[in-house]
């Protein structure tokens, strides 16, 4: 079992590395297939100036050489220089933005997991009753709303109409609304996952056995049911990170959070190629790592699962 598990982890790890390499290659070659020079929109239009700029950023060498250089640099954590925020390296900008986005994302993920698991379990335990129906109704609604709809609705209701919470992130308590709007979609998703997996577990023989042995209700729920129903929620960790990262591009713009998502959108609109490449690769590494960890933890939690 142990050696089998190890083989699985190594295999899964190699797969993750391959995926990251593919993302880097796709990112690099797609960005380099663009016909326009990244400097063609600059004010300095003379060919000599553009050539000098291209030489400075290394764009004058053959693509294959550039790619290998780029790979080498990434391994040192060097994503190159931003072509639009002159004087800043991409790594600096990413680090600056990520400190905000990480707080926002972790807060949203924690809120989503705690609320989602609790609500899902409560709904499953009260199957068919009013609580269950309300939970189902609300979560169905929430998973049908794009992040920008959730965020702007919260902004209108709590920020503008009721005036309870600040609408800008730099005000005290300003992170509450962005965190909340980012967490609602994954929260609803986890609730639905947890509900159906809990219902599945509650119908299992070992739950009946535990009850027949006279185990207290609370213990049955917490020790037997809840623990075993967590599997599908764990596998959702990877997609959840992806959805939170995507959502943060919208939410950070709406609430003016100076995070990675807003940085990414701005660099897309300004066509800052080095930034786009850097952020894409950074986010992809984050998502792939989370997927890898989620799969390993899932396998640890439930060794019966054959993931290969």
């Amino acid at each position: 079992m142990d050696s089998k598990f190890l083989i699985y982890v190594v295999k899964r790890f190699l797969m993750a590395v391959l995926t990251i390499f593919l993302v880097i290659a796709i990112t690099f070659f797609v960005m380099h297939a663009i016909p326009a020079s990244p400097f063609s929109s600059e004010k300095a239009k003379s060919d000599a100036v553009i050539a000098a700029l291209e030489a400075k950023y290394g764009f004058d060498k053959p693509v294959s050489v550039q790619f290998i250089n780029y790979l080498k640099n990434i391994l040192h954590g060097d994503f190159g220089l931003s072509t639009k925020w002159i004087g800043s390296t991409v790594s600096e900008l990413i680090a600056g933005g990520f400190s905000y986005s990480a707080r926002l994302g972790l807060g949203a993920a924690a809120l989503a997991i705690v609320l989602g698991v609790v609500l899902g379990a409560v709904a499953a335990l009260n199957r068919g009753r009013m609580v269950d129906k309300i939970v189902q109704f609300v979560t169905t609604g929430l998973v049908s709303m794009p992040s920008f709809v959730i965020a702007t609705l919260l902004l209108i209701i709590f920020g503008l109409k009721l005036g309870w919470l600040p609408t800008m992130a730099n005000q005290p308590g300003g992170m509450i609304l962005p965190t909340l709007s980012l967490s609602l979609y994954p929260m609803a998703y986890i609730t639905r996952l947890e509900r159906s997996s809990m219902l599945d577990v509650l119908g299992q023989d070992y739950i009946r056995t535990a009850r027949a042995k006279g185990v207290k209700n609370a213990k049955v729920i917490f020790k037997h049911a809840l623990k075993n129903a967590l599997g599908p929620v764990v596998t959702y960790a990877g997609p959840m990170i992806a959805s939170i990262l995507t959502g943060s591009m919208v939410v950070e713009n709406i609430f003016s959070v100076p995070g990675l998502g807003r940085l990414f959108v701005n660099s897309m609109l300004r066509t800052d190629y080095m930034m786009i490449m850097g952020v894409t690769i950074f986010l992809a590494v984050l998502i792939v790592t989370m997927n890898f960890l989620a799969d390993v933890v899932y396998k640890l939690l439930d060794p019966r699962i054959d993931l290969s």
Binding site: M15, A16, L18, T19, L22, V23, I26, T27, V30, M31, A33, I34, P35, A36, T140, G141, V143, S144, M145, P146, S147, F148, V149, T152, L153, L155, I156, L160, S196, L199, D200, A242, L245, T246, M249, V250, N253, I254, F264, V265, M268, L269, T271, I276, T280, L283, A284, I287, V288, N291
Partner: protein
């Protein structure tokens, strides 16, 4: 009981010869009417029709689709038509110029949802945005269905090494972060489009085209996996073996036996795909990577509405509610389809 029974004999089966007479036509008819034979498709449709929630959603979607197709043909305003004297009108409000025309006895079509910052009729813009959303949803589902079925069927049917290699490719594609790739491609394609002369491409916009490309490249893997799994179990069935023994070709078996038997999986997966395509498009348009101006999309309308949020919140609510209604209906219809086509899954 005056029929002659055979003599009682300890070794006889003591059967009544009456029971072995041919059935009369009347009796035959009785058996036929007792139970009509129902095909799988009709059975599933019957279950779907009885699901009230799913039917309501279906009706909503049909109505929205019809509005999106028909209204732009007969509507008196277009989505580009600007009127500087009619900026920021509230729903059913008329500008001074329009009021003068009404006073002069002319008929003026009301702005059902008001007008925007350039005096364009908002209702027709929302309808065009809906059109874009639905188009993205349906075309993406179509792409996913075609590629996913072919790939999954080939992989599942041939099995062995072919299956192994094809599924490895699926695994790799599956682990790529799709939204990032969509964004990346739309950045690149936007650049190509700005130099393109083709009218259709320019009108569709970078976001739309990159969504279609990415769905063609990435999103079909879910469908391919589902179809392959289904094919693997169908392959073991006796009727496939019978068909093979009778000399049927691989293509014949795939298209005649296997794909029809995968239909429930295909329908369910395709229905679930549509909301995610609509989400992606609206997200891209919201951050400014979607359809090109002046073509509206529900995402870009919502994004534009943010600037006047305090004074004109309804400008956000109209596109937001529309997209909510569309995605909600697709989600609930998808649940209904799953229940109808896959009764085993129902809890």
């Amino acid at each position: 009981m005056d029929t002659v029974k055979p003599k009682k004999n300890p070794f006889s089966l003591q059967l009544d010869p009456e029971l072995f007479k041919p059935a009369s036509d009347e009796e035959k008819a009785q058996v036929v009417t007792q139970r009509e034979s129902v095909s799988f498709m009709r059975d599933a449709m019957r279950r779907l029709v009885h699901n009230r929630m799913a039917m309501v959603c279906l009706v909503i979607l049909v109505v929205i689709t019809l509005i999106a197709i028909i209204v732009p043909m007969i509507y008196p305003y277009t989505y580009t038509q600007q009127d500087v004297t009619a900026k920021y009108l509230r729903p059913f409000q008329y500008s001074a110029k329009e009021q003068a025309r009404i006073a002069a006895g002319q008929k003026v079509f009301p702005h059902i949802m008001g007008t925007d910052n350039l005096g364009r009729d908002y209702a027709i813009r929302v309808i065009y945005g809906t059109r874009i959303s639905l188009m993205v949803g349906f075309i993406s589902a179509l792409i996913v269905v075609i590629i996913g079925i072919l790939y999954g069927a080939i992989s599942g049917y041939f099995g062995g090494r072919v299956d192994l290699i094809m599924m490895r490719i699926v695994d790799i594609i599956y682990s790529l972060p799709d939204v990032l790739i969509v964004i990346l491609l739309s950045v690149a394609i936007k650049d190509f489009i700005s130099t393109s002369k083709n009218d259709l491409i320019v009108r569709l916009g970078a976001g739309m085209i990159s969504i279609f490309i990415v769905f063609g490249l990435l999103y079909w893997v879910g469908m391919a996996r589902q179809v392959r799994g289904q094919i693997l179990s169908i392959k073991e069935q006796e009727y496939v073996m019978a068909s093979k023994a009778a000399g049927a070709s691989a293509m014949y078996i795939i298209f005649k036996h296997m794909i029809p038997n995968c239909i429930s999986v295909i329908i369910i997966t395709a229905a679930m795909q549509i909301p995610s395509a609509i989400f992606t498009e609206s997200f891209l348009s919201f951050v400014g990577m979607g359809v090109s101006i002046p073509m509206p999309s529900l995402g870009s309308l919502a994004s534009d509405a943010r600037s006047g949020l305090t004074s004109y919140p309804y400008m956000l609510l109209f596109p937001a509610l529309t997209i909510f209604l569309i995605v909600l209906s697709f989600n609930l219809l998808g649940n209904g389809l799953r229940d109808a086509f896959d009764p085993k899954l129902r809890s």
